[in-house]
């Protein structure tokens, strides 16, 4: 069965500029110290400022962690990389959406965030694909909600997301659109970067060793399709292991060994 867009090659999460600033789990400047909400990270407020996941206390003489996470120092900012958390949509994010409802003017989608996403028909059809005049063309082609059904899995991009409105989505773009086969699993959104790895090292390894197609997205959801169910089970187990051990070093090697080992134990080759 074919998926709506061309065959997948790469699956990396979109490049937001902000992303480049976010520390990754296997960065060298992560202290690997696990901290919890309310924990004092430093009392040296002369030299440090609160960064991500941290805050001054009332008297402004301490910096406190807001989350369970790993303590990280970046220049003079103290950050806490959360180990648990929920997904907050941002413009540019690629996510996996499940169509939960539709009416003639829009689709409603579960994107694993506190608000449902909205997909409007005009964002499901490429501009210019319709015959007709410049800037117009056949209006009816992109006005109806016949294209997708409740229960469909779509890879979408977040067009806009702010505090007041529901996030707006689109299926127009590379690698976006409906998936007709495969399966979707969920992991903690903060652990997603680990499944990709530095420069995609982890995900490349996973794809090669398990002969699978994998699409990893920001909202913690991962679409995958293997050659057979045995490979798929192994891949899912490997991803769950990455999720559990995301905060450790040497993970890529360890997962590689795990997969090789399990293949022998399970009799897959």
């Amino acid at each position: 069965m074919e998926n709506e867009e061309e065959e997948l090659i790469e699956e990396t999460i979109t490049d937001n500029d902000e992303d480049k600033e976010l520390p990754e789990f296997d960065g060298e400047d992560i202290s690997r110290e696990v901290v919890v909400p309310g924990e004092v990270l430093t009392e040296d407020t002369k030299n440090f400022l609160p960064g991500r996941g941290t805050i001054f206390n009332k008297e402004r003489n301490k910096i406190i962690s807001l989350n369970i996470g790993l303590k990280q120092i970046n220049k003079n900012y103290i950050n806490v990389i959360p180990l648990k958390g929920f997904y907050t949509p941002r413009a540019g994010d690629k996510v996996i959406a499940l169509v939960t409802d539709k009416n003639p003017v829009k689709y409603r989608c579960d994107i694993n965030a506190k608000d449902e996403g909205v997909l409007k028909p005009r964002n499901t059809v490429k501009r210019g694909k319709t015959r007709g005049f410049r800037g117009g063309g056949s209006e009816s082609a992109d006005n109806s909600t016949d294209k997708y059904q409740i229960g469909d899995i779509l890879i979408v991009k977040v067009l806009s997301a702010d505090r007041l409105n529901q996030p707006e989505l689109t299926t127009v773009g590379q690698y976006l659109g409906k998936r007709r086969d495969g399966i979707v699993i969920s992991i903690d959104p903060p652990k997603i970067p680990r499944v990709i790895g530095r420069n995609g090292s982890m995900i490349k390894m996973l794809k090669n060793l398990t002969k699978s197609n994998i699409f990893v997205t920001q909202n913690g959801r991962i679409w995958l399709k293997g050659e057979n169910i045995a490979y798929e089970r192994l891949l899912i187990d490997a991803i769950k292991k990455i999720e559990r051990e995301a905060h450790t070093v040497g993970l890529t090697d360890r997962i590689t060994k795990y997969i090789d080992n399990e293949k022998k134990i399970r009799g897959i080759n």
């Binding site: 499940l98 229960g151 086969d181 399966i183 979707v184 699993i185 969920s186 959801r221 089970r233």
Partner: protein, 274 residues
């Protein structure tokens, strides 16, 4: 798989169905296999009987409390055993707060029926004084985590609770109750061990012990309660229909599976000596 609330994706349903056709399930089981059971009896100090049972990730904690009261007028020499179930919101975002839902009532009633029609609880032994005082047993099931197949987990949880129970023994003396200081235990109260086995059906495929995704995509379910040699109750739910041949096949399977499970779990090991 994906943490959804109520809608399950089409590709997941297809995935489950296509693999079931090849007799494959995502957790590696065969079509007629149970997930792993763990059973812990007598876990609640304030209850006269209790059990913490997990089937796969489904977890139910059950407790038994007793009261003494007047019997039903049409059964003057028999005690009463009544079941209640609550699907706690902690068990799943699908479960809402509030009065018992259809699903929780179904759970309580199916478990009740399976046990009642098997003559499992010896209600005649729960009589202190005919027409005046009998034991009333309240068996309350709390679903702590929902991962499919609450009924079978509920059944085993209830049986374990009853078997591990220890209820103060009362005698009727001089027109009132005197407590002897001894206890009625599971050995006295429980006679038979009915096992309830639940099957899911998707299209034309039937399989034992649906896990969560399987249950959410099933067209229907059927639960069959069996003792060593008899069928004691059948309950079907959902839109799916079952042909006579299918029911015949399933009742035979249930006897087999029931025998095997009874042996494997060996629930009598959980009786207490008080």
């Amino acid at each position: 798989m994906m943490n959804t609330k109520r809608v399950i994706s089409t590709i997941e349903k297809n995935y489950i169905l296509n693999n079931l056709r090849k007799e494959e399930r995502i957790d590696g089981r065969g079509l007629w296999e149970y997930r792993d059971w763990t059973i812990k009896p007598d876990v609640i100090s304030s209850a006269e009987g209790s059990a913490d049972v997990t089937l796969g990730d489904t977890k139910i904690i059950t407790g038994l409390k007793y009261d003494v009261g007047a019997p039903f007028p049409d059964l003057p020499e028999e005690g009463v055993c009544t079941f209640m179930a609550e699907l706690l919101p902690l068990a799943s975002p699908i479960f809402e707060r509030g009065p018992p839902s259809e699903q929780s009532i179904e759970l309580a009633r199916v478990v009740d029926r399976g046990i009642r029609h098997a003559d499992c609880v010896q209600t005649k032994k729960l009589c202190i004084k005919a027409n005046k005082a009998v034991y009333i047993l309240f068996v309350d099931l709390y679903v702590i985590n929902y991962s499919g197949n609450l009924i079978d987990a509920g059944g085993i949880s209830s049986l374990t609770t009853l078997i591990s129970s220890h209820i103060p023994e009362g005698k009727w003396v001089d027109d009132q109750i005197e407590w002897t200081g001894k206890y009625l235990t599971g050995e006295t109260i429980v006679n038979e061990l009915p096992i309830v086995t639940t099957y899911g059906k998707i299209n034309d495929i039937i399989f034992l012990d649906p896990n969560l995704p399987e249950e959410l995509v099933s067209d229907g379910k059927i639960s069959i309660s069996v003792t060593e040699d008899k069928i004691t109750s059948i309950q079907k739910s959902g839109l799916a229909t079952f042909s006579l041949e299918e029911i015949d096949m399933l009742t035979k399977k249930s006897m087999e599976i029931g025998k095997k499970l009874r042996k494997e779990l060996n629930l009598w090991q959980y009786k207490v000596k008080y």
